[in-house]
Symmetry: C2
Subunit: 293 residues, 2 copies
């Protein structure tokens, strides 16, 4: 069995049908040192119980997934979304504090798409900026970094009006880097002709909260949300991408988050094993082994 | 029945199952003044016969679809692609010359994706630049404009490594505007946070060969290639987009090209009627009526 790279982290979305306890067990048993959990499962297990399990596991906590979904017009729905993000910030702080040294209190933010019936993409993007400003003080007070994630433009209308790294960085620029950062996910960004310049900017500005590796292949799945592949199984040049991220000085965890019905239908231990193998071949050769910091 | 806007052009892909003769009939019967044909159907009808039909119809010719697919490594396949593009250039010149005043000898270029098994997107993009340079003299000699079309990033790996308007403009910059221009299609570009700046640049540099309007809606069709909608049926802000194009001084045809199984399964006359209605509501109010030039 391949020994997992020390910086590999499994995002629970890769093994979506696990409880927190199962996810921790599977990841630990594989010799992986880091994990990122999803809110739904954490809430099902209970936050305190999840915190205890993370502390007992000795794993690092890489990211908490996820906040956002705050593009609604002002009103009760928007207020509810903002309140829920405050809860997510609290969860992030608690889980990261329970993780091993090198854990990161980063809340991945998927901002949301256009509100139902709206064509006002400019307005939706402005409301993202406003929501980040509203949440930043609570994040700062809890030592949590909001990790804005630009999603692939094919999700622009229904999942994230944030589509490029520069857009995320322009919003982040109004805040301290430890309060608002960005998530750099190969699947979402690989097509961008200027992506390496933007990655360099993200590094220069101290904003890289998480580096996520996930491959792209066509034809896309009929549900494009579930069209992700193990690193190395698709067309992304992980050598070039990973070198660009490494060149910024990023030494944190590298997360694998695979939304795929086929992978979800795989036994979780087997999905983790395949993740380790793909990572070893496609990503690890271009990563330093420096301790996660 | 709505009188079609004088600048509306029907791209034959909207009524894909028509012959050239049928397409011309349906478009003319609806009172539309302009058409763009596809190579497959033109070749089936014969180029000379198609030229004659266009001349007899009194329609303008808006674009010829399409060339490109030239991202292959040097070798026989690439040579064949380049040769085929030379034929497409010749077709474009002949058909546009047969069209009514205001016709445009514009060959829409879909550049192609990554070659099978390749992860070298940088190389593929360089070969696009090389191919354009190779074809430009033949285009220039025939008075044809190569209309580079950036496609939505979800097509980056299998259809077009050209994903943004700036990328297309950067390639075009090495050539005269009448030789290499760009196709501005709302469906492909609407998500880009900087798209209006890029449209302004395209106008300033005299590169807008064609403005195409087509709507975006989710969930996407299972085959994302066929996920297009009549203008007004989705989330694109055609008011803002069309005003941005108009502000550049573009006074040419506005083409509707709808790849959609549902629309293809509609009677062509009915599909054209719905196109006219959608165009009238979503696009026409923001267009000048100035004669096409």
């Amino acid at each position: 069995m391949t020994t997992p790279h020390p910086r590999l982290s499994i995002n629970q979305a890769t093994i979506k049908y696990t409880t927190v306890a199962q996810a921790i067990d599977v990841v630990s048993a594989a010799g992986i040192q880091s994990i990122g959990l999803w809110r739904e499962q954490v809430q099902e297990a209970g936050l305190n119980e999840s915190v205890k399990m993370i502390a007992d596991s000795g794993l690092r906590y890489s990211t908490h997934c996820r906040g956002g979904w705050f593009t609604a017009e002002p009103g009760p729905a928007r207020q509810a979304a903002l309140n829920d993000n405050r809860v997510a910030i609290d969860e992030t702080a608690a889980l990261a504090a329970a993780g091993a040294a090198g854990s990161k209190a980063a809340l991945v933010i998927v901002v949301g798409g256009l509100p139902e019936g709206s064509r006002d993409i400019v307005g939706a993007r402005e409301r993202v900026r406003d929501a980040v400003a509203t949440l930043a003080p609570h994040a700062e007070a809890n030592g949590v970094q909001l990790a804005l994630e630009p999603l692939h433009p094919m999700y622009c209308s229904d999942r994230a009006v944030l589509s490029t790294l520069d857009q995320a960085l322009d919003i982040a620029a109004d805040f301290a880097p430890e309060v608002v950062g960005v998530t750099v996910d190969t699947f979402h960004l690989w097509w961008d002709p200027d992506v390496f310049d933007k990655v360099a900017r993200a590094g220069r500005e101290g904003r890289i909260a998480s580096y996520q590796v996930c491959d792209w292949k066509t034809p896309l799945a009929a549900d494009v949300l579930l069209s992700r592949h193990y690193p190395g199984d698709g067309v992304i040049d992980f050598a070039a991408f990973t070198k660009a991220v490494e060149a910024t000085g990023y030494t944190g965890d590298v997360e694998v988050e695979l939304l795929s019905q086929e992978i979800w239908d795989t036994d979780p231990a087997e999905a983790v094993r395949r993740t380790i193998d793909g990572f070893e071949r496609a990503v690890a050769p271009f990563l330093s082994n420096t301790p996660v910091s």
